[in-house]
Symmetry: C2
Subunit: 158 residues, 2 copies
Amino acid sequence: MKNPHQYYINLAIGMAAENAANGNGGPFGALVVRNGEVIGRGVNRVTTINDPTAHAEVMAIRDACRRIGHFWLEGAVIYSSCEPCPMCLSAIYWARISSIYFAASNTDAAEAGFDDSFIYKEILLPIEQRSIPIARIRTESSGHPFRLWVNLEKKTEY
Amino acid sequence: MKNPHQYYINLAIGMAAENAANGNGGPFGALVVRNGEVIGRGVNRVTTINDPTAHAEVMAIRDACRRIGHFWLEGAVIYSSCEPCPMCLSAIYWARISSIYFAASNTDAAEAGFDDSFIYKEILLPIEQRSIPIARIRTESSGHPFRLWVNLEKKTEY
């Protein structure tokens, strides 16, 4: 393969177009590649499986983790047809993916009606200024699950 | 119910503790409530189903959407045993949940080894300064999926 980055990004774009054309969801596709092998594929399925978290990158990460039987993807590269939204970007961090390539920008997505800049802005705001009201409820037991976790002898950390 | 907020938040905390005690995952629990009815429940299952996106809030949102058969949760409230991480917060925005209550703070979580402040900081950085390398690949076909979407006659927008 002469230029693997170009090859995989075009594959992701092709998946995005096919997904939209087939009525399976939004025009987004993503691939997880490790050691020259595609280990995960995802397309946007939000409206067809009724899952608002079913963005292409999240679906590709879930697929890759299922395939390798682990919740970390160190050393893997994700190729996405579009710049990741903050949910997908955070999922990429939690999955410990090593690098990210994307084709279309968030601005391109916004022009087609997919605007995640609102969420990027909201995340930066102090919680009392956000548009979805968010409040802490103080309760005596709030620290209990963490204390229990810290004292657990057998646990899988992540 | 005298104080529903207190009731539901304690339920979420109980789910978090039970989840950790049973070895099912991290000490996190969340509930989606609408019109006085619990329509979604979630606990952290990252390490047991090998899904780095299986945080309590994401699981509760997916559960609620599956139950109601829609990808939006307008008018719903989410109760979480802990302040949502940026992935979960973004998922809450995508799901159009109307308000958020949490018990433990991100600082409490960090003390128990769950530190998402790193991801909050990363999201704010210009992409060339982030710790996971992220780059745009320019390619002629990058706008194709969006053009196709815009011209689609039958589509479910979200």
